[in-house]
């Protein structure tokens, strides 16, 4: 189902908006696609990582002699094999996260690595590396981190943004404050004020492909790394930083990526593999086990959130105050900052204040996860809005429509919003049959909205025309959700040739210009713009070649539907339209190969709004929640490939539902993760979900030639509050702590029953 705003250009598109079979699909359904762990090089060694059994400890000594003497072992490295890094360095956290130096900060923290002829030998040698630790008290929760007598993880950590400036180190990495209007006056104006607290647990991105790479250092020191990442240029620079190498000493070749969701925007193994390969003079392959993925790679931050809203009896939100504390794991992170930027962003609130803290604890360093921080702030805001609607007797949809931000309204950060499609998404849900469908016994319905700002950043593209009239489009964006298909469609639209005649590929760091990470829902927006620019440059070239062939002036040649068309006033004899294929076939005779580039820093990423509607059924005796119906409307700007827009929405919903109901990191009292596997870290399985009706709303982004807004992230924002509001609708219970597992839901139902009986 697609709802399109009146947009004169849209209907004119020939290829944009069609459901092309993805160009990389055939390899993926036949098992031929090469993911990172699928590459094997001749003479390759296997690496294994020595990981800390302690959540917090000082490394007293590391003795690698026994490991080095073991059969098959070619290289053993520790933090001492890498250049020292200053805490003030921009990438300090990443560097010491990849291999610990003086201290370990979480169970699973890498302290050494081994390369040996076989994986079994490498693992055996890793087990033989003797590390002496002085165990320190582990700080596992936000409350523990902020206690007055809390052990300080990082002696250099002074709270950024503190007023007055912090003088003593603490576990609070930063403070962010936003405000607008007059909070006190706003609350004074309110007829109803509600204040609530929320808490969540760390969750993992849960990509099915574990991190993997192969590094091969040649005799000249030049190193090639094949790996799965969301950004191979970032892998190159990060690896170089850690090793103290020049960037250009490394080439990174992107393998197919088996899911990332933000978790593969940072790196873990590549510098270790490069260092081992450099020492051993052999290629080194490293693949994480699932347990390593859970214990040592990026969970999303967890948070404690307190929000206070004031509303007038007519439903206008007049004041809001939020206090957010995000735990980012062992190093500073941006959870709180991003939470502060999203908590009130969906609604026009004249008087507001946000204070957000980012704290560190002895758990794995958090990484980005799809709309980082926003699902948690939405959990708070959207469930409290539901309560306000209930209290004031206003329909939850009407309350949101009344307060929804629109073009020109000030963002939390002050600037006026460009054209956004929030109201359109709300209306799309209101007019959907789901909105008024009857509910069965023990069922409830929840509504929630979400917002994500999306980013632009740098992208590069190259278009090469082949002599048969087909095109190769090379970009630097790893394809994490079908972006090659959308690149082919945009290029086809620009060049006027069939998208099947376009082969989109992801180039390595030496084959295409610098391109930032595929993150922030930016690939189709920013890299798409680079492709469009490259194609437009190609069309200029094609017109010139056609002018040569027609003996005409280039200004008299237009590009129409894949053909150079003479439009001049002169004699049109011998100036019949020339197809791209004909021009490409004669390229040698008209000036040489046809190639064009597009490189840009993409400004104007447009935010994506989304509104979800969820029906649940709750077993009142066991607390088990079943998702029985789900509809999600999201503003895609323009859907270049509707199937993959729907896929992004549906995937976001599934992840959000998992986060809402059952996903959580469980630690024992020493900070050891108790559920580092897919059996007890419960991502939703097929039978846990219904069909997810994805409604694409299209309010074009003026900053993109086809109106694209990124769609990758916003979909994960509303599910948690949508589920929470649906559980309330079914049971009367408000649950404000994640996950809303059967245990927690039954506790709430039982407590409510006791209150009812007692009263």
């Amino acid at each position: 189902m697609t709802i399109t705003e009146a947009n004169p250009g849209y209907k004119g598109y020939k290829y944009v908006g069609t459901r092309l079979i993805r160009p990389d699909g055939l390899e993926k359904v036949t098992g031929k696609a090469r993911f990172a762990a699928d590459l094997n090089l001749a003479g390759q060694l296997h690496g294994a990582v020595v990981r800390s059994p302690h959540a917090h400890a000082r490394i007293v000594s590391i003795d690698t002699s026994r490991a080095e003497a073991m059969p098959g072992v070619k290289s053993v490295i520790t933090g001492d094999d890498f250049p020292s890094v200053d805490p003030g360095h921009r990438q300090y956290d990443m560097c010491v996260n990849i291999i610990a130096r003086d201290k370990v900060f979480y169970e699973g923290h890498a302290v050494a690595a081994v390369a040996a002829s076989t994986l079994e030998q490498a693992r055996a040698a890793a087990a033989a590396v003797e590390v002496e630790y002085e165990a320190l008290q582990a700080v596992l929760t936000i409350d523990e981190a902020m206690a007055d007598d809390a052990p300080v993880l990082h002696s250099h950590m002074l709270t950024r943004g503190a007023e007055p400036p912090a003088e003593a180190p603490s576990n609070v990495a930063s403070v962010t404050r936003f405000s607008g209007g007059d909070l006190e006056a706003g609350f004074a104006e309110a007829d109803f004020v509600v204040e609530r607290e929320f808490s969540t647990k760390p969750v993992h991105q849960g990509y099915i492909e574990p991190h993997a790479c192969v590094a091969d250092t040649g005799q000249d020191g030049h190193t090639t790394i094949w790996c799965s990442s969301q950004g191979h240029f970032n892998v190159r620079s990060s690896t170089a930083t850690l090793l103290g190498w020049e960037n250009t000493r490394i080439k990174v070749v992107p393998a197919e990526i088996g899911g990332g969701f933000g978790g593969k925007t940072t790196i873990y193994l590549e510098p270790l593999a490069a260092a081992l390969s450099s020492q051993a003079g052999r290629p080194v392959k490293m693949v994480m086990t699932r347990s390593e993925v859970f214990r040592a790679t990026g969970p999303a931050p967890c948070a404690k959130i307190r929000v206070k809203f004031g509303a007038r009896s007519d439903g206008a939100i007049v004041a809001a105050d939020a206090h957010l504390i995000y735990s980012n794991g062992a190093y500073q992170g941006a959870g709180g900052m991003l939470g502060a930027m999203t908590v009130f962003e969906s609604y026009k609130i004249p008087n507001f204040a946000v204070e957000a803290l980012d704290v560190v604890v002895n758990t794995a360093r958090s990484a980005a996860y799809r709309a980082p921080a926003a699902p948690l702030t939405a959990f708070a805001t959207e469930t409290v809005l539901d309560e306000i609607a209930e209290e004031l007797g206003i329909d939850a949809m009407d309350l949101r429509l009344k307060n929804a931000v629109k073009e020109g309204d000030p963002s939390t950060m002050g600037f006026p919003l460009a054209r956004v499609g929030f109201a359109e998404c709300l209306e799309a849900i209101r007019s959907h049959p789901h909105f008024s469908a009857p509910l069965g016994p023990n069922q409830g319905r929840g509504l929630a909205a979400g917002y994500w700002f999306n980013i632009g950043e740098s992208s590069s593209a190259i278009v090469n025309l082949n002599e048969d009239g087909t095109a190769t489009v090379v970009t630097g964006s790893p394809d994490i959700g079908g972006s090659r298909a959308s690149m082919a469609l945009m290029a086809a639209e620009e060049l006027g040739i069939d998208p099947h005649d376009i082969r989109p590929v992801v180039g390595d760091t030496e084959a295409v210009g610098f391109t930032d990470i595929t993150e922030g829902s930016r690939a189709t927006f920013a890299t798409g713009r680079a492709v469009v620019e490259a194609c437009r440059n190609m069309v200029i070239e094609l017109r010139g070649r056609a002018a040569t062939m027609m003996e005409a002036e280039v200004g008299d040649i237009d590009w129409v539907d894949g053909h150079a068309v003479y439009t001049g006033d002169g004699d049109s004899e011998g100036k019949e339209p020339l197809s791209l294929a004909v021009i490409a076939g004669k390229a040698k005779r008209t000036g040489g190969p046809l190639t064009a580039t597009g490189s840009l820093e993409a400004h104007g990423a447009g935010p994506s709004f989304t509104v979800h509607l969820c029906d649940v059924e709750v077993d009142p005796e066991t607390g088990v929640v079943s998702i029985v119906r789900y509809t999600a409307a999201q503003d895609a700007g323009t859907a270049i490939h509707p199937s993959y827009v729907e896929g992004q929405i549906q995937g976001g919903v599934a992840q959000g539902v998992g986060w809402a109901l059952n996903e959580e990191y469980i630690y024992d009292s020493d900070g050891v993760m108790e559920n580092p596997g897919f059996l007890d870290y419960r991502v939703p399985v097929a039978s846990d979900l219904p069909m997810i009706d994805a409604v694409i709303v299209e309010v074009p982004n003026p900053a993109h030639p086809y109106g694209v807004r990124g769609v990758g992230e916003a979909g994960i924002v509303p599910p948690i509050p949508a589920v929470a509001n649906a559980i309330h609708s079914a049971t009367g219970c408000r649950i404000r702590d994640l996950p809303m597992s059967p245990v927690r839901v039954l506790e709430a139902i039982t407590a409510a029953g006791a209150r009812a009986n007692g009263g």
Binding site: Q205, G263, G414, G520, G604
Partner: protein, 82 residues
């Protein structure tokens, strides 16, 4: 170029809480230099981790972005994504 500068509320320390100020510069880098002269400390605050929004366009790395006379420049924290 004389422009109107809007600071997101987390960036107003050096201005003593003032949200809207005047500045000038041919591009955003020059503007930041001018603002630093007016409000010591503000330059540092605006040089890292900060994006601007001009005419509705979010610009992540704005140093050389050219300013038109009378432009409205909003300094905001840099966003990220997953």
């Amino acid at each position: 170029m004389a422009v109107r500068v809007h600071l997101s509320s987390n960036l107003r320390g050096p201005t003593g809480g003032v949200a809207e100020i005047e500045g000038s510069g041919a591009n955003v880098g020059a503007l930041i230099g001018d603002l630093e002269r007016q409000y010591p400390g503000l330059g540092d605050a605006l040089r890292s981790g900060v994006s601007v929004v001009i005419d509705g366009l979010l610009i992540a790395h704005p140093q050389y972005y050219r300013l038109a006379d009378g432009a409205q420049v909003f300094f905001v924290p840099q966003s990220a994504g997953g």
